[in-house]
Amino acid sequence: MSEKDTTHFGYKQVDKDAKAGLVGEVFHSVAARYDVMNDLMSGGIHRIWKRFTIELSGVRQNNAVLDIAGGTGDLAARFAELVGPEGRVVLADINDSMLQVGRDKLLDQGRQRNIEFVQADAQYLPFPDDSFDCITIAFGLRNVTDINLALRSMLRVLKPGGRLLVLEFSKPGNPLLSRAYDTYSFRVLPLMGRLIANDSDSYQYLAESIRKHPDQNTLLGMMEDAGFCQCEFHNMTGGIVALHRGIKA
């Protein structure tokens, strides 16, 4: 297998065509307990990170918003309130189990008027050019096989002046925090996965995939290479998570 045909799946090198299926298996496995595990693993801080993403999105009434890898719909639910009845929110996820959990949750909350649910691959978004005012992808980009291809696809479907927001795990700046974070990721997370979700492998993959994801400046460069302008990032919780924003010219 040549270097060109492979990609990383956690710390393993796998065939590029196989990664989507492997990631799919991970998320099929965690979908049912995704929200509970998110709250437990982050101590609820993921809600603060998502809240800041919504603030920075600048989404307002009548906007069209695409939430890629939207999972259980935390961001989509809030966007649906902000865009109002005349706006449009599309919750997209490649994984049908996650999409089903998200759809059930939002429908149970009575949110259906301005939300659509689409099973879609971030690399090949099934929407016309210049469709959305804002695109968000929260904790999903690191699972995409070809990040550059996905960024170009997002640029295509954004309207000129539209914003892309990428919320993703990143690299802590402080060495002490980095060491504590490593211990937590590789010892505590798989243990929590085993005890609560009876699935330590998926949470081992979570920790490994974070380490293989590009750091803040590399991702910033990738966004600029894809064609986004005014790119910037905000480190949160010491850089454990970073929010990148780019604008389509």
Binding site: I45, I48, F52, E55, G58, N235, T237
Partner: protein, 213 residues
């Protein structure tokens, strides 16, 4: 390019404050309805010491707080935390805005309306108590709480008045406000007279020098 300081704490504080405000507004439906009338307004509070920014978005569901806002702003206020506290607790917000240390940009009327709505939030504890304890005990407990709060407010006003009277009239520990104002007026008048006397003596000194020369 990295953005400003880590926004996690600021965002968490705003989330907590927003939840507390909206819980209070849920218990005060009248204030919530009044707030809904300001739904198209955005208020920006720029605090210079300590340095932070809050954007208030009133709406039908309550009030939304944000640390970042891109878009038109109805009223923008800049000042120190103590100035904002003074405005929030003021009985006459218009006078506080004019005489206080706050810088205001935009329309002041919606801001004054917002201040008055938030300052007069009157929470009705009966609904959640009845929902939790049942009709009779909930109503009785709510009645007791209402009486206790009313007594507390009355006692506080009465105590403050009596303490004021004791300090000024009985113990004479401090002069009454009118006496102090009168004294300051006399001091000010004396200051003016001294200034006039000084300029008069200066004029006389110059005239004497002219005669001698």
């Amino acid at each position: 390019m990295a953005g400003a300081a880590d926004p996690t704490l600021h965002t968490a504080a705003l989330a907590a404050l927003e939840t507390a405000l909206n819980r209070a507004l849920d218990l005060a439906p009248e204030s919530k309805n009044e707030l809904a009338q300001l739904k198209d307004c955005v208020f920006a509070l720029h605090c210079t010491a300590p340095s932070f920014e809050i954007y208030l978005h009133p709406g039908e569901q309550g009030i939304r707080l944000a640390g970042v806002h891109a878009g038109p702003i109805t009223t923008s206020v800049r000042g120190e935390a103590s100035d904002f506290t003074e405005l929030a607790t003021s009985k006459d917000p218009t006078a506080t805005l004019i005489n206080g240390g706050l810088e205001l940009e935009g329309d002041s009327a919606p801001l004054i309306e917002l201040q008055q709505i938030l300052a007069t939030v009157n929470m009705d504890w009966e609904a959640p108590l009845v929902a939790t304890l049942g009709d009779v005990p909930g109503h009785q407990l709510a009645q007791m709480l209402r009486n206790a709060f009313a007594w507390g407010r009355q006692a506080s006003v009465s105590l403050s008045r009596q303490l004021d009277e004791f300090i000024h009239e009985e113990a004479r520990l401090s002069p009454p406000r009118l006496e102090v104002e009168d004294f300051y007026r006399d001091v000010h008048e004396l200051g003016l007279r001294v200034d006039r006397l000084q300029s008069r003596t200066e004029r006389l000194r110059q005239r004497l020098q002219t005669f001698r020369g």
